[in-house]
Amino acid sequence: MKKSLLVIAIASIILVLIAKLVGGSGLVLTGLEKAWNTAVQSFLMLVVSFVVIGQLHVLLTKEKLDKWLGKYSGLKGILISALAGGLFPGGPYIYYPFARTLADKGMPFYILIAFLFGKNSYDFSRVPMEVSLVDPRIALIRNLITLPIPIITGLLAQRIFENRSVNDVLDRQGD
């Protein structure tokens, strides 16, 4: 956690310096204002999502998760995870902490990949916006074409890493 915080702090300092060089203090302030607005707008959602994460933490014991993963492993598990990703509400500040919680419970790496690619490719809450703001025909074509992506990436990850857990593959122990 401390290492991640240090990386973020260094990256922020570098970006502040770049923004200062490119557009002066005004650009830095605009960037910080955008960050502040996002933080304020999403604060309540963040609190609620951590209530969900906490409740899931006590509900999903490692034994339960293992049992579930034993029942829905392989392609079935990939399909369910990809679909769950697509249905999962909220932005990256919600689904990454959630995925991290499951990863710390021993979730296999390929399930994480299917979930994240499912969220990024499908995100069903985004579809109405894509249809209305871009074009219905393009939204249909794009969604159909990208439909197999989470399944292929999940299968690829399973082939390469087999049933190894996220923390085992990434060599992280809860960070």
């Binding site: 973020i8 650009l27 960037g31 960050a35 209530v51 509900l59 902490p97 393009i138 292929i152």
Partner: protein
């Protein structure tokens, strides 16, 4: 955002009562959630700052002009990386994509652009690297590139077949 919050609140309530019925650990769950929020909050706030700075540093007009008349294989390649640079949420990204489409970009370019934004969008980078590490972010991004190109290529082929 309000709808998502309402949905998450409903899920939280269901889980709370489910835990109360199943194991009586609902209060422990609240404590764990609060502890995790406090532990993660500095990271999330840092990631918000990074995402805000990335958003203002990437010149949207440049991306728009860059892609406006592109089609074919070059358009697919530029669309993929253009999508990565659109470090913003759907409300901001989709109107930009629409303007790229309106200015004459091909179907392959637009599909690569949306797929690139969805899979590679830099606004996710701070969160992905915070919760799973920089290496994971880099590998996932590299793995995503061929999928964005393939999606653009499939759309381009479809466009050629339909017209």
């Amino acid at each position: 955002m309000l709808l998502t919050t309402a949905l998450l609140s409903a899920i939280a309530l269901i889980l709370f009562f489910l835990n109360r019925k199943e194991n009586g650990k609902q209060i422990e769950g609240l404590k764990i959630g609060a502890r995790q929020l406090l532990q993660t909050l500095p990271l999330i706030l840092g990631a918000f700052i990074l995402a805000g700075l990335i958003e203002v540093l990437i010149p949207v007009e440049f991306v728009k002009n860059w892609l406006s008349t592109e089609a074919g294989l070059k358009g697919i390649l530029l669309g993929t990386f253009g999508g990565m640079l659109l470090a913003m949420g759907p409300y901001a990204a989709f109107p930009i994509i629409t303007s790229v489409l309106a200015s004459g970009a091909g179907l392959g370019t637009v599909v690569a652009l949306i797929t690139g934004w969805a899979l590679l969008g830099l606004s996710k980078a701070p969160f992905e690297s915070t919760f799973f590490g920089l290496k994971f972010f880099l590998y996932k991004s590299i793995l995503s590139i061929p999928f964005c190109l393939a999606a653009g290529l499939a759309a381009h082929t479809l466009d050629l077949l339909l017209n």
